[in-house]
């Protein structure tokens, strides 16, 4: 019974991490730096949903699409006005990392000024989020829907990535953007599109988090650290590796809490990270 409940929670944590790592992975594999501004899109998505759904009382589905559009746009614009310049200048990864960190910090503080620094809960009434009985275990409706939707999204993105023309273009840019450009693929345009998609995916993560437990403006970096770890864990170059990494981390975190207590939860991703780096630096799935 307890075991089944923990499995359900691991499933939810795993799919939420997977969602974040898919979007992050698209950006990471194409521009090849740890774009922590991705955490900003996570926040923007959640806060826009709060604004549209709870403050402006727009109905649920349109509010989600509007929020996803804005969080995508946020990352798209960050690329257009900041990162594309740096990438064209062939700036060092480190410069890009610092710039994205600065952008995340500025985003968090602006959101804090507008919405306040306390946790913001998107649900109009928390009691509307019913819990469902799943073979003796429990998940609430947000968690259950998130699992279904994210599984669908994983399948859709896997299909796009591996089976469609657009997917081949993305993979070409990921393999070598210079060569891709030589054969006529508009590199800048693809980057922009990937930033938009990534932003929307991060935004969806923010919405789910905000609906379920609430989001805080200062939590952007806190969310980015495990996502970075997962992407390395699974192998930076692999689509499926990221998803496997997400589940490994979810399992390890929950089991740590069960066996060692909650105060060690934050260190778990990093213990795993160091072990993986030492034993298998190319990640679990190599390509």
């Amino acid at each position: 019974m307890i075991t089944w409940q923990i499995i359900l929670y691991i499933l939810y944590a795993g799919v939420l991490y997977s969602l974040l790592v898919i979007g992050f992975g698209f950006i990471l594999r194409s521009v090849k730096f740890f774009n922590v501004a991705y955490g900003g899109a996570f926040l923007v998505g959640g806060y826009m949903m709060f604004l549209f759904y709870r403050v402006l009382v727009i109905s649920f589905i349109p509010a989600i699409f509007l929020s996803l559009f804005i969080s995508g746009l946020y990352l798209f614009l960050s690329h257009k006005f900041i990162f594309s310049f740096l990438i064209n200048r062939k700036a060092n990864n480190f410069v890009l990392l610092i710039a994205s960190f600065g952008f995340l910090t500025a985003t968090s503080s602006v959101l804090g000024m507008i919405f306040g620094s306390q946790a913001t809960i998107i649900a109009r009434r928390l009691s509307d989020i019913h819990s469902l009985n799943i073979f003796g275990g429990t998940l609430n409706i947000v968690e259950a829907l998130a699992i279904i939707i994210i599984f669908t999204l994983i399948c859709i993105f896997a299909f796009i990535y591996f089976k469609t023309h657009f997917g081949r273009v993305i993979r070409a840019v990921e393999d070598d953007s210079e060569v891709a450009e030589l054969v006529g693929i508009p590199k800048g345009k693809i980057f922009s599109q990937l930033f938009f998609i990534g932003g929307a995916l991060a935004g969806l993560g923010g919405i789910i988090q905000g609906l379920n437990v609430g989001i805080v403006p200062a939590s952007g970096l806190l969310f980015m650290l495990p996502v970075i770890v997962i992407s390395v864990l699974g192998g930076i170059r692999s689509f499926w590796g990221g998803i496997i990494g997400a589940f490994i981390l979810a399992i390890a975190q929950k089991l740590t809490v069960v066996f060692f207590g909650g105060s060690w939860e934050q260190a778990v991703p990093f213990v795993i990270l160091i072990i993986v780096l030492l034993v298998r630096p190319e990640g679990i799935l190599k390509k």
Binding site: M1, I2, Q5, I6, Y9, A13, S109, G112, G116, S117, Q118, A119, I121, R125, L126, S127, I129, S131, T138, L139, N140, V213, G214, V216, A218, S219, L222, Q253, K254, V257, V258, G261, G262, S263, E265, Q266
Partner: protein
């Protein structure tokens, strides 16, 4: 060094010199139009909500004091500084308040780390400092000029332990915030509860920034306890109580004074039904909640803000009692003060360590998003 670099360095040096001169040429606070009191709290970072909420509470106190004639016939002016909840930044903030603003007294800080980082500087400069939310036991020994009006964790943990025992709840699980506040409550509660004959079935904690307590709660669910002593601040408490409801945990949830935050219960609505917590008994707290709601436009009152509001009034009372802006006189007045009618506690007196001597607690229960006092 190339030309641009020279220009940049030049500008920087000029700005710094102007800043240095202007900071030194500021007028001293004692002979000017107002009586200056410094405030420190986290205004940025993870815990900014605590500082910002306290700031709003203090603004209310300032208006009330000034409308009632101010202090020593002058208006009170509060200078707000950010301590980022860290000892090093707090040292900057307190040094600025003491040396350039020449404040008479300081209200701060909230985080124990910030209070303890600032305390030696205030102590050396002989400026009285009153912390409104640091419960770390080492604050008691921080110095003669260091006071706090937030009661030690010992009182409420003791009260909670005895109440639960009295209700026949002998098996309790602990779930506490992993910071000095939560760890302090955990220790005090464990001592008091085991002494009274109860059993601590499990003891777990969570990161203060975390809002996912599902794994902790799932293990608690498997243990068949009578009550869960849950010491968390607003955000993890909302999440944790919601998750406990999802899991269908039937045990009694029992919290600490941080739960006296209207936001928790208005967000949770019926989900919070039955949860209980200890809080210092006062008559005026409902009135104060209404004032905060009018100020902020929403239900949002973090429990530190009660003490911050009282703290400013206590400082003002001490300055009036000392009848001077001499810092030593204010400190002496503070140590002898007996302040009544506060919103955080009914009566405040300080012992030799600068801690409140007593605190009288009551128990509140949530029902349908509203709080009612439990008669005993």
């Amino acid at each position: 060094m190339n030309k641009t670099a020279k220009i940049v360095v030049g500008i920087v040096v000029v700005v710094l010199v102007i800043f240095g001169l202007s900071s030194m040429s500021k007028k001293s606070g004692t002979d000017s139009e107002t009586v200056k009191i410094g405030f420190m709290g986290p205004l940025s970072g993870d815990t900014a909500n605590i500082g910002q909420n306290a700031q709003a509470a203090i603004a209310i106190a300032v208006d009330e004091i000034n409308n009632a004639g101010g202090v020593l016939g002058k208006n009170v002016e509060v200078i707000y500084e950010d301590d980022g909840c860290s000892g090093a930044t707090a040292a900057n903030a307190v040094s600025k308040l003491i040396n350039t603003d020449k404040v008479v007294a300081i209200l701060g800080a909230a985080c124990s780390g910030a209070t303890l980082g600032a305390a030696p500087i205030a102590e050396a400069a002989k400026v009285p400092m009153l912390s409104y939310c640091s419960t770390n036991p080492t604050v008691s020994q921080a110095g003669d000029y260091i006071f706090r009006n937030v009661p030690s964790d010992f009182f409420q943990a003791n009260y909670a332990a005895n109440y639960l025992m009295g209700k026949g709840m002998k098996n309790v699980a602990l779930l506490t915030s992993k910071d000095d506040w939560g760890d302090g409550l955990k220790k005090a509660f464990t001592d008091a509860f085991t002494k009274a004959g109860g059993v601590i079935v499990s003891s777990d904690s969570f990161d203060p920034a975390s809002k996912d307590l599902k794994a902790q709660l799932t293990t608690i669910k498997g243990m068949n306890v009578d009550a869960v002593y849950f010491a968390g601040y607003t955000d993890p408490s909302i999440a944790g109580l919601k998750q406990a409801h999802d899991l269908g945990i039937k045990a009694q949830f029992f919290g600490a004074d941080a739960w006296d935050d209207t936001k928790i219960w208005s967000e949770l609505g019926t989900l919070g039904d039955g949860a209980m917590f200890t809080v210092v008994g006062t008559n005026s707290s409902a009135d104060f909640k209404a004032k905060m709601k009018a100020k902020l436009g929403k239900d949002d009152l973090i429990y530190c803000s009660n003490y911050a509001y009282d703290g400013l009034k206590i400082l003002a009372a001490a300055i009036n009692k000392a009848d001077s802006v001499s810092k030593t006189a204010v400190k002496d007045a503070l140590s002898k003060i007996k302040y009544t009618g506060g919103v955080g506690s009914a009566e405040v007196m300080f012992d030799n360590n600068g801690d409140p001597t007593t605190a009288a607690y009551i128990i509140k229960r949530a029902l349908g998003g509203k709080l009612t006092e439990v008669s005993q």
